[in-house]
């Protein structure tokens, strides 16, 4: 079995020397590969990865994000997507190509404060992200509780092929939507919501603990029987 080396690193630390393929948050300086973030570096046979422990959400095309309407102008909705840029949902994406500011009332569809499940339609470094709600499950989210986590922890909350989020969902009977931007909406019974949020916080706290899955399972299972 090939071995990988896991290293806890801070910005400026040398992760490895030699010749590797490398991903984000790593810079090559001569022979050295240097970390740009606090995180866990994984040095495999020919590849280096860095999983950051903290950092902002930067938009990527096709990401599913959960956002909040913060403004409406004549041509669409301005959405806070927990990022350095606000997203924009054009009215024509919602009302169709015959949209006209004179005949359509934007606030009849979404109001300031509404929470939307959206997809990033396009984003370039020179332009703010454009959002879309086309496709099943996108659009206004009408109930539930909002939880915000560090966007860097989203992959762990979802788990491999969705295993973690499915576990939490099954054990609590909650419907859980996770945006890549770190915004999560949990909906279900009041008790279920409390338990699901606790489990999400546990994953957030102990992101890289070994056997996190069983820890979460124990925490969730324990609540039912009233034990630990």
């Amino acid at each position: 079995m090939p071995m990988i080396q896991r290293k806890q690193v801070i910005p400026g630390d040398v992760v490895a020397k030699g010749n590797y393929r490398y991903g984000s948050y790593i810079e090559k300086r001569g022979e050295e590969y240097v970390a740009l973030r606090v995180g866990l570096a994984e040095v495999g046979r020919d590849e280096i990865k860095l999983n950051p422990f903290t950092g902002p959400y930067l938009p990527r095309t096709d990401d599913e994000v959960i956002g909040k309407v913060i403004d409406i102008n004549g041509f669409g909705w301005v959405i806070d997507i927990n990022s350095c840029f606000d997203g924009f949902l054009p009215a024509s994406f919602v009302f169709g190509r015959d949209f006209s500011p004179a005949t359509h009332d934007l606030s009849s569809k979404f109001r300031v404060g509404d929470i939307l499940g959206t997809r990033i339609e396009s984003y370039e470094r020179s332009r703010d992200p454009q959002l879309s709600i086309r496709g099943e499950g996108y659009g206004k989210i009408s109930s539930g509780e909002i939880v915000k986590i560090s966007p860097t922890k989203v992959p762990r909350v979802i788990g491999r092929r969705g295993t973690m989020i499915n576990l939490i969902s099954e054990k609590t009977g909650c419907d859980i939507r996770v945006g890549q931007n770190g915004v999560i909406v949990v909906d279900g019974s009041p008790d279920g919501i409390v338990k699901a949020i606790k489990a999400i916080r546990l994953v957030e706290e102990e992101t890289h603990a070994p056997d996190l899955m069983s820890k979460v399972e124990a925490a969730l299972g324990g609540g039912v029987v009233g034990g630990n």
Binding site: K68, V69, I70, D71, V78, D80, D86, R111, V112, G113, D114, I115, I141, S142, S143, G144, E145, I146, V185
Partner: protein, 269 residues
């Protein structure tokens, strides 16, 4: 600039209003229950007095500086007291660097009024040479983290810092005020306590956090003294309040203020 903090998620506000109808709040508090108050004094040794106050996640640091000054012409034998507050740009994503905002100035003035009008500090004991020299007490407040109700957190920080402040005793020699090495307390007579109440829907809630402040349409701050007297008040936000609710708020401030005063006295005695 767009203020994202002024937008509460609709689904959150809906739940807030639903819960309030049954006498509960999103964070589990009762309507008349303030958040956890924590007071630490003497945190800035270079200041004459200081206090670090947390009210929930709102964090305020107050520091007292004492010097001599020239009295105001209309009060030649009384000392000078000045309360000032700055909402630091680090305190929230929406705060900005630059000259004090309207909100920061209102905050400083409302806090100042509560301290001044309650006659917390006996200004007559701060006179040195009538018309020439008096003791000037400056209280500066750094708002370091904002999670609602800056009025009360700031007021508790000022009161706690003043209650624990020490100043040099002055003597008058040859018509000059001279500081001695002896340290004495600031002449504190009363303990004013500010209680802020927000109205969300038709419910009044004590000590609103930032989520509740973003959902309120009216706010009233009432300061009471040790004897249950009301000594300062400020109604805020662009909405009205009925006379009945004013009286209800006054009663709440007196009763809630009593419990908070006990906490302040315990932390500063």
């Amino acid at each position: 600039m767009m203020k994202k903090n002024h937008v509460v998620e609709s689904i959150t506000k809906e739940r807030m209003v639903q819960l309030l109808a049954s006498g509960k709040r999103l964070d589990g508090r009762a309507l008349d229950q303030p958040r956890n108050l924590n007071i630490e004094t003497g945190v800035i040794p270079k200041a004459n007095g200081s206090a670090r106050v947390t009210l929930g996640n709102t964090l305020v640091l107050a520091g007292v500086k004492i010097a001599t000054g020239i009295p105001f012409p209309d009060t030649p034998d009384k000392g000078i007291l000045m309360v000032n507050a700055e909402i630091l740009p680090m305190s929230s994503p929406y705060a900005e660097a630059g000259p004090p905002s309207e909100d920061a100035i209102e905050l400083a003035r409302v806090t100042d009024r509560g301290i001044r009008e309650s006659e917390m500090v006996d200004m007559t004991k701060l006179g040195l040479i009538p018309g020439k020299s008096v003791i000037a007490v400056f209280v500066d407040c750094n708002i370091m983290n904002v999670d609602g109700n800056l009025f009360d957190a700031t007021s508790y920080a000022v009161v706690s810092a003043l209650r624990t402040a020490k100043m040099n005793r002055y003597v008058v020699k040859d018509d000059k005020a001279v500081a001695t090495d002896e340290l004495i307390p600031v002449p504190v007579e009363r303990t004013p306590v500010s209680v802020t109440i927000a109205r969300i829907g038709d419910k009044l809630v004590v000590d609103p956090n930032s989520e509740e402040e973003a959902s309120m349409d009216m706010r009233i701050t009432i300061t009471t003294d040790d004897y249950g007297n009301i000594c300062a008040s400020q109604k805020g936000e662009a909405s009205t309040i009925s006379p009945e609710q004013v009286l209800q708020a006054a009663d709440t401030s007196i009763s809630v203020g009593k419990a908070i005063r006990a906490k302040i006295l315990e932390a500063t005695s």
